[in-house]
């Protein structure tokens, strides 16, 4: 993957474009065998590029970023190679041009082609991927009395051991999703409470509980035992928590973000100062390298783990000031390491997509309503957002087209919190209407994929013969 490789890519795409058809199948660059093959073909003897503008840089960019994925050798593409390739592609294209389109799209044609005709031909030409059925109503509704209707808190989490934790007032409850059993983890004292945040550790056993009095408690959920209390970090309530292995990152109303190493006595290992109002969103990237933080000061920061140090107040990698209201909803893309989605509060109403490597805003979509939470579908390229006034709905978006695929209504007040089951299929949402609802929005586990195959009819092959 050096400069020579990419030059080859460009020239080969040029020759393919001028020679047009018949060559297209073997055009996968950055692949040793193909480059060797090319040497023998007459297309590649001359490296002179006569007409730069006729080369399709889009195509080249696509080949750099997407072309190899899955088709060639999926086993080789490790996450780090993937990330490197992304960066390479980004520097190639991102910094040079801007791609713009009108916000208002041209009117969609009305019945340009008779529908019956188009229906038959589309059926023949390509067996359309069966559309997943998305139930429009919640699968299950539980009461959540006394849940704090506070946008800045994070009171719901679903751990890897399939237990859901929810803070209602001063009490943290655990709901076991496998058998539906409810238990109480802790009720904190009046003067310390209410609980302002909960977050499962990656092991699904330990849980961090942030409190109104600035303390953070660590609990062992199986033994129902308080392990330790982290004190002295924040000046006021702790509304945002996230884990990065043994590091518990806490965000407070004081605008501070603190990395706590829960194993050691002096637990504060780093402090990130950049927000000047309450921190309400905190998410570590899957790699554990980057932390995204959102605040009531409308700021979104990206912090880099490797440049953090314990003595100096660390600087952010990116400060993103595009949101015009509090940034609470944050979600790292599960299939693209440096892609972050962020949602803005009532005055902003947009979902924005960021390349956290370059800090570039990739897209922004006005949702028309406060964005309270965001979740990516782990199985498909989809994003789920939860909203407030006026619909209090959950909206499912296709990514990157951002076409709405479903709107799930049922909540009667803003949907403050969302959590995803460990299998990635079910989403729990808690709202100001004091209910906790479960939605089967991301498909059903295991059943969804094999099902179409077992249903094939004996003469299904006939379609292909024609």
């Amino acid at each position: 993957m050096d400069a020579g490789g990419s030059a080859n890519l460009l020239s080969s795409s040029l020759s393919a474009s001028s020679a047009s058809s018949s060559k297209t199948r073997s055009r996968f660059p950055l692949q040793e065998q193909h480059l060797l093959q090319r040497k023998t073909s007459r297309d590649n003897l001359d490296r002179f590029i006569p007409n730069r503008s006729a080369m399709d840089f889009d195509y080249a960019h696509f080949m750099l970023t997407e072309g190899r994925k899955g088709k060639e050798n999926p086993a080789v593409s490790s996450p780090s190679r993937e990330a490197y390739r992304k960066q390479l592609a980004e520097t190639f294209n991102m910094n040079r041009t801007r791609i713009l389109a009108f916000k208002n799209k041209p009117p969609t044609p009305v019945d340009a082609i008779p529908t019956d005709f188009s229906a038959t031909t589309t059926n023949n030409s390509k067996p359309a991927k069966p559309r997943r059925y998305i139930p429009q109503t919640s699968e299950r509704t539980l009461d959540a009395p006394d849940i704090l209707d506070d946008y800045y808190l994070n009171l719901l989490d679903w751990g890897s051991s399939n237990v859901l934790s929810i803070a209602l007032g001063s009490t943290v409850y655990l709901w076991d999703a496998t058998d539906g059993a409810t238990s109480e983890l802790v009720t904190v004292d009046e003067e310390n409470g209410p609980v302002t945040s909960v977050k499962w550790a990656p092991d699904g056993r330990h849980i961090a509980v942030g409190l109104n009095n600035s303390d953070v408690q660590l609990w062992d959920s199986t033994a129902n035992r308080l392990l330790r209390t982290l004190k002295g970090g924040h000046q006021s309530r702790v509304g945002a928590l996230d884990w990065n292995n043994h590091i518990l990152t806490t965000g407070g109303m004081d605008g501070q973000i603190i990395n706590n190493d829960v194993r050691v006595r002096a637990h504060i290992v780093e402090t990130y100062r950049g927000h000047h109002q309450e921190v309400c969103g905190l998410k570590w990237s899957a790699s554990g390298q980057q932390l995204a933080s959102g605040g009531n000061d409308n700021l979104l920061h990206i912090w880099d783990r490797s440049t953090a140090s314990s003595n100096a107040p660390t600087q952010w990698l990116h400060r993103l000031e595009d949101h015009t209201a509090a940034v609470k909803a944050l979600a790292w893309c599960p299939f693209q390491g440096n892609l972050l989605a962020s949602g803005g509060g009532g005055g902003d109403r947009s979902i924005k997509f960021w390349n956290t490597h370059t800090g570039a805003c990739l897209n922004s979509v006005d949702t028309g309503s406060q964005v309270c939470a965001l979740l990516w579908n782990k199985n498909e390229r989809e994003l789920l957002s939860s909203h407030g006034f006026t619909q209090n709905q959950l909206t499912l978006w296709k990514y990157p087209s951002m076409v709405k695929t479903a709107e799930l209504t049922g909540h009667t007040s803003r949907v403050l919190f969302m959590a995803q089951s460990p299998d990635g299929c079910t989403v729990a949402s808690a709202a100001g209407d004091e209910t906790l609802r479960f939605w089967n929005v991301f498909g059903s586990p295991e059943v969804a994929k094999p099902a179409p195959k077992t249903n094939t009819e004996p003469f299904a092959n006939l379609n292909r013969i024609r």
């Binding site: 474009s17 058809s21 006729a54 696509f62 009108f102 969609t108 188009s118 359309a128």
Partner: protein
């Protein structure tokens, strides 16, 4: 416009921008007509570039294209426009089926020092006419668009361009493993426009 630039074969930046943006307007109309994105009866016939051209009579599409060309000519005059792409997508799935790619090279000396160039109107029109003929004949090799389609236009600009209020940043809407056909190009001596259409591989031919 013709009056402004036709005299003595001198072409200015403004005149060139007007020719190029007008070309985009007609090219877009022609593509939408020939590819059947909008119904045939919604187009009306005019004479342009020595050819019968078809222009949409649909108010919505008309406004979209006229807003587009006026913005494009602004960018062309500033020398900030690198490329315009007309994307045809499936209405139901949003899948990109065709990309009509117009790459633009601007003579930076003209933009920076506001000099003019010499090229006859007639020559330019002849080149454009050739492209328009090619667009019209493209239906012979492009795969049939046998489902309702929608279109969108992407403008590739320099990074330092301020995004106008009515525009947003977009993804490039690429086609995986496309077929490509290069069409004629034309050159006003200030703006050089290369045309290329890429389209989804017709899977019927695959073994």
């Amino acid at each position: 416009m013709a009056a402004r630039i036709a005299t003595k074969d001198i072409i200015t930046l403004r005149g060139s921008a007007a020719i190029v943006s007008e070309f985009f307007g007609y090219a877009a109309n022609s593509i939408l007509y020939n590819r059947g994105v909008y119904p045939e009866e919604s187009f009306g016939r005019v004479k342009k570039y020595g050819l019968p051209m078809l222009l949409t009579q649909d108010e919505g599409v008309k406004t979209f294209i006229s807003n587009l060309t006026s913005q494009l000519s602004e960018w062309l005059e500033a020398g900030k426009l690198q490329r315009v792409v007309l994307v045809i997508m499936s209405k139901s799935t949003g899948e990109v089926l065709e990309r009509w790619n117009f790459s633009i090279e601007t003579d930076s000396e003209v933009v920076d020092k506001s000099v003019s160039r010499e090229k006859s109107d007639k020559e330019i029109m002849r080149d454009i006419q050739a492209i328009m003929r090619q667009i019209a004949s493209s239906i012979t090799y492009l795969p049939c668009l046998d489902e309702p389609c929608v279109f969108d236009v992407l403008a590739y600009t320099d990074k330092d361009v301020a995004v106008p209020f009515t525009w947003i940043e977009s993804d490039p809407k690429l086609i995986a493993n496309p077929q490509m056909v290069k069409l004629h190009s034309f050159d006003t001596k200030i703006h050089k426009v290369d045309t290329l259409v890429s389209y989804k591989n017709d899977e019927w031919d695959e073994p």
